[in-house]
């Protein structure tokens, strides 16, 4: 397929670093993963070099898939997941992106509940400093027959500087009528009173911020095989920003 590079008119690339995308174009075909019925699949994606990751994942009947993402490196980093859930399948995403300077980081997910009784849970946390941009575009599509879908999406971003940007677009497209789809989205700053409380107990400002940010991203990597590595890399990156 000889498609030309995307532009800002393409919704999925609207906030991207277009010149970086053009430089990387044409991209290799997305990695295709098929999780057979009843199977279990897990993957950790640590994006720390400035690259584009694209995964197409089909989760078979009654199968489970857990993806953990830490998106922290390079000028432009993108992780794109296209997940299709078959009957009774389960998909879990725990993703953190932490950016400073002029970094542009994004996570794009499309989770399609193609058949009934599938469950999905997505947690995305972004911490942004300097003039960094962090984007999460998350679409959940529920097909007409996919009754008893249960989908949860929790999206939060923390801005450490007023000059940083967080884009968040949770999106639901539901054609079935007996489903549970919860989603929440919040963008904020560190609680000033909380910071003062920590400082009043003797913790230096940078350490107080780090402690609160650690709490903000804590739990996202729970259950990941590489949990310790991810947490260590996240803390190191946070330490560079505060």
């Amino acid at each position: 397929m000889n498609r030309s590079a995307p532009t800002r008119h393409d919704e999925a690339w609207r906030y991207s670093d277009i010149s970086a995308v053009e430089a990387a174009w044409p991209l290799a075909a997305p990695e295709s993963i098929i999780v057979p019925a009843g199977g279990n699949f897990a993957r950790t994606i640590l994006q720390d070099t400035g690259s584009i990751h694209q995964l197409d994942i089909a989760v078979g009947k009654g199968a489970t898939t857990a993806i953990h993402v830490l998106n922290i490196g390079g000028d432009y980093g993108r992780v794109e997941l296209n997940v299709t859930l078959h009957e009774g399948a389960d998909f879990k995403l725990g993703a953190v992106q932490i950016g400073g300077g002029t970094q542009n980081l994004e996570i794009i997910t499309t989770v399609t509940h193609a058949e009934p009784k599938a469950t999905s849970s997505q947690i995305v946390r972004s911490v942004l400093a300097g003039t960094a941009t962090g984007t999460y575009l998350g679409k959940v599509a529920v097909a007409r027959d996919a009754q008893l879908t249960d989908s949860v999406q929790s999206v939060k971003a923390m801005l450490l500087d007023r000059s940083a940007t967080a884009n968040a677009k949770p999106e639901l497209e539901i054609y079935a009528d007996d489903v549970k789809c919860a989603h929440g989205c919040a963008i904020g700053e560190l609680d000033a009173m909380g910071l003062f409380y920590l400082q009043a107990r003797g913790i230096a400002p940078a350490d107080a911020k780090k402690l609160m940010l650690q709490a903000f991203v804590a739990g996202v990597f729970e259950g990941a095989a590489d949990e310790d590595i991810l947490i260590e890399a996240a803390l190191k990156k946070l330490g560079e920003l505060v």
């Binding site: 909380g194 409380y197 009043a200 107990r201 003797g202």
Partner: protein, 247 residues
């Protein structure tokens, strides 16, 4: 220990403290009482360095050093502890982690060796036990899901662990039932009633002073101390109200 001289402070553009002078010596417990809006909490925040509380005139020295030149965490390391009227909830950060980090940050600032996990837990267990707080609560996130009384009790546990030279306790008695009030009062006496320590109790009511007997009682009204007396002044205030005495 603490010398406040002609202290003026603004919150935003609004003057709140208007020439407050107060002196605390080691071994003394002082109570500051006064009506709503007199500037009691502002005094606590100014002394502990909360951003947005601007000193416009006057001075504060703590053990001979300029307190106002220090950052909040440096004031804590120097031995000052503020017990918050509304202790802050910090989701995701456990009490144990928070307090160990706080204590060791203060120790580092004073060039003392950090406490190991085991050493810290021993101190924490002692203090929590003395204040009737379950160790399980100390493992939970800071103040999250705590009742008003539990938060105040947690402030006292923190004070016991940190073991400061000077405690400013901002309405530590509010939100406490009778039993908790006694526990907290006993805690203040046990931790702070020592020849080398001092306490500034900020309160609306006389009842905490039944448990923690002050050496001095001051009335704070409209940003300055309008009257000073002994413990009996608190009883007088309770009987006659502030209006009569603050005038």
């Amino acid at each position: 220990m603490l010398q406040i001289t002609n202290l003026h402070a603004n919150v935003g553009d609004k003057p709140i403290l208007k020439g407050l002078t107060l002196s605390l010596n080691a071994g003394e417990i002082h109570a500051i009482m006064g009506p709503n809006g007199a500037g009691k909490s502002t005094l606590g925040y100014v002394l502990s360095g909360r951003p947005g509380y601007e000193v416009t005139e006057g001075s504060v020295t703590f053990n001979g050093n300029d307190l106002l030149a220090l950052e909040p965490h440096e004031r804590a390391a120097a031995g000052l502890f503020l017990g918050f009227q509304y202790p802050v909830e910090i989701p995701g950060v456990s009490n144990v982690q928070f307090l160990r980090e706080a204590l060791n940050a203060q120790r580092k600032n004073r060039s003392e060796a950090p406490l190991s996990g085991a050493e810290f837990l021993k101190v924490a267990r002692e203090q929590a036990g003395a204040l009737g707080m379950d160790m399980d609560m100390l493992k939970r996130p800071v103040n999250v899901g705590f009742s008003g009384g539990e938060k105040k009790r947690n402030e006292m546990v923190q004070m016991g662990i940190i073991n400061p030279a000077l405690a400013i306790l901002d309405e530590t008695d509010s939100g406490l039932d009778i039993d908790a009030l006694r526990t907290v009062g006993d805690g203040i006496n046990r931790i702070m009633r020592k020849p080398d320590k001092a306490v500034l109790l900020i309160t609306h009511y006389q009842r905490l002073l039944d448990y923690v007997k002050p050496d001095f009682v001051h009335v704070l009204a409209d940003g300055r101390i309008t009257r000073t007396g002994g413990a009996e002044l608190a009883l007088e205030l309770e009987r006659d109200g502030y209006k009569e005495l603050a005038a």
